[in-house]
């Protein structure tokens, strides 16, 4: 088992190096003078020259690359050409908002998709099955940013059930401790703040989760079907285990493992979708940061955000794989056998 963990850690380290290298190569793709781009549009010639020295563009490419990697390890992604603040600070400020949005989206997905999938497996070929199939088809077509706009329009503007923009109403924000508005509300112990934060997050999270519900539900359904047809289920039923217990303890537990893996893969997808959804709802997350940076021609801030998202993605898949190994004994033995 230690062997597997070490191998997986090495793989993650390699991926981190790869992401940093890829972003470095991307920054060298900039047409024209890189220093001028890094210094921003309003920079004077002296400032551009200074940036050339700061970036080390006057030195050999290998040295630049080594410097860059060292920077990436120590959390130095350069300075924003627009705000003149360290990019890492800007990203750290908004990252909690995105993570919170994605977690909320995942929560909605699980709450809807797990029961739907299990139900569809137990009543094969009935209503829940059809619902999953229709959702699956629609998921392939509806652009998530458009869905976000439509949800905001229908449930926010027309029906007025939810606020349409921002993280909190004026005066509704809890004191900023962690950057996660929901967590801050709980820490502050205010129900009004909690309600305000959740209601602001609900529509964006719903838009984010909608395409994913069908994928997860279908996966749960097929895993449950396989599990429920296996011998140990027949054994448990004939032994007289109550039906609910058979489904949850025997069937679902074995079905859950690969579901977890799919979840990890979808995390990356949700972060990309969050980039689009955040701009619709004016949430101050990493997506809005990227959007602002693109509008302001702040290329290095965009690349910094790309790198951070890559890092987060690598880290998440590492955690998911390790969790999978802990939860499912079959993975452990399979990995050992291969190793």
């Amino acid at each position: 088992m230690a062997h597997y963990v070490l191998r997986r850690l090495a793989l993650a380290a390699f991926a981190l190096w790869g992401v940093a290298t890829l972003v470095f190569l991307m920054s060298r793709l900039i047409p024209g003078d890189i220093a001028a781009v890094a210094a921003g549009r309003l920079a004077t010639p002296e400032q551009v020259e200074q940036m050339r020295v700061t970036l080390g563009l006057d030195r050999p490419l290998v040295v630049q690359y080594a410097d860059y990697l060292l920077g990436a390890v120590t959390g130095d992604f350069g300075v924003s050409a627009y705000t003149h603040r360290p990019i890492v600070e800007e990203v750290a400020e908004v990252l909690p908002s995105t993570v919170q949005l994605v977690l909320m989206g995942m929560f909605i997905t699980v709450v809807v998709a797990l029961p739907l999938g299990i139900w569809a497996a137990l009543r094969e070929g009935r209503g829940a099955d059809a619902a999953i199939r229709i959702l699956l088809v629609l998921k392939g077509g509806i652009p998530v940013f458009w869905l976000a706009i439509v949800l905001r329009w229908v449930f926010g503007s027309i029906l007025g059930w939810f606020p349409i923009t921002g993280e909190n109403s004026i005066g509704g924000a809890p004191p900023d401790v962690t950057g996660f508005t929901i967590l801050d509300s709980l820490l502050f112990g205010s129900f009004a703040n909690l309600r305000d934060s959740v209601s602001h997050l609900f529509l964006p999270a719903l838009a984010l989760s909608a395409p994913f519900i069908s994928t997860l539900a279908r996966n749960v359904r097929s895993n449950m079907l396989t599990a429920m047809r296996s011998d140990y289920i027949t054994f448990a039923v004939s032994k007289g285990v109550p039906p609910g217990r058979v489904v949850m303890r025997h069937g679902f537990r074995s079905a859950f493992g690969s579901t977890l893996t799919i979840f990890g893969l979808q995390f990356g997808w949700m972060i990309s979708a969050a980039v689009l959804v955040e701009t619709v709802f004016a949430l101050q997350g990493i997506g809005s940061l990227m959007y602002k940076s693109i509008v302001n021609h702040d290329t290095f801030a965009v690349l910094g955000s790309v790198m951070v998202i890559g890092f987060v993605f690598v880290f998440t898949s590492l955690v998911v794989d390790l969790l999978h190994m802990l939860l499912d004994p079959r993975v452990r033995t399979a990995q050992l056998a291969r190793a």
Partner: protein
Amino acid sequence: MTIDNAPFDRVSFVGVLSRRLFGRGGPVVDRLALVMVGILLVLAVVGPWLAPHDPYAVDPIASLEPPGAAYWLGTDDTGRDVLSRLLAGAPLTILSAVAVVVGSTIIGVFVASVATLAPRWLDDALMRCTEIFLSIPSLVLALGLTAVLRPSLTSIIIAMVMALWPATARITRNILRETMTSAYVEAAKIMGVSRLRLMLRHALPNSLDAIYVHASMELSGTIVMISGLAFLGVGAPPPSADWGSMIAQGQDFITTAWWISLFPGLAITVAALAFGLVGDAIRRINDPTSGRAQ
């Protein structure tokens, strides 16, 4: 050696597809989707000439007109006809998606072929390389690349090709690995056929169906992704009428003039659904394990 790839009459792929989609007993949804794809492809070529109004003509008097007799799908805030803009935007959205898929498929298949022929270490290195690309979500990667290049539709296409080829390369590598170990390729190898020839004459032609299937499945996601990038404004600058930009231009008016954003979104949805369903139908036809019946 087992004879798992016994020779069989190779039926024309297009023949099977059309017979299955238009013959009796084919699923109605698939047929509708195929018709829709046909219409969309025609519109993508001739759409701009069908526009009843000038898609870029600003007319302040006719601004924010609701859908009606004069403007079937209404007008936007500067008085441009939404239907005309949709038609003008069809090539921008659909043909770009086709270009992206063609580009990423060519690069992906090329890299996979090289990896198949190359010595083990190069094969490993190339596949590791694709893994690195895949550890950044493709939309984010494409967004970063378009920010690096100048904002234009061409940049979006280049960026998306660069973001999407690794997945195609990996899938093609797996397909080729399977084909290269199949019985008839083994037989050819024993007869002394060179590796290059094995690859070009035997393995690759037989993998093409699977590659087509992957490409057609990619198309629908690509349409949605291109629109997403254009929505964020890294695509063609205004007054571009690509569908993603149209949604972005209309989103501030949604409460008063819902038609500006709603119709381009519907257009993207219909296009992506149609291409996705046809792609899925092709996959089912090509996959003998899925069975003939729906």
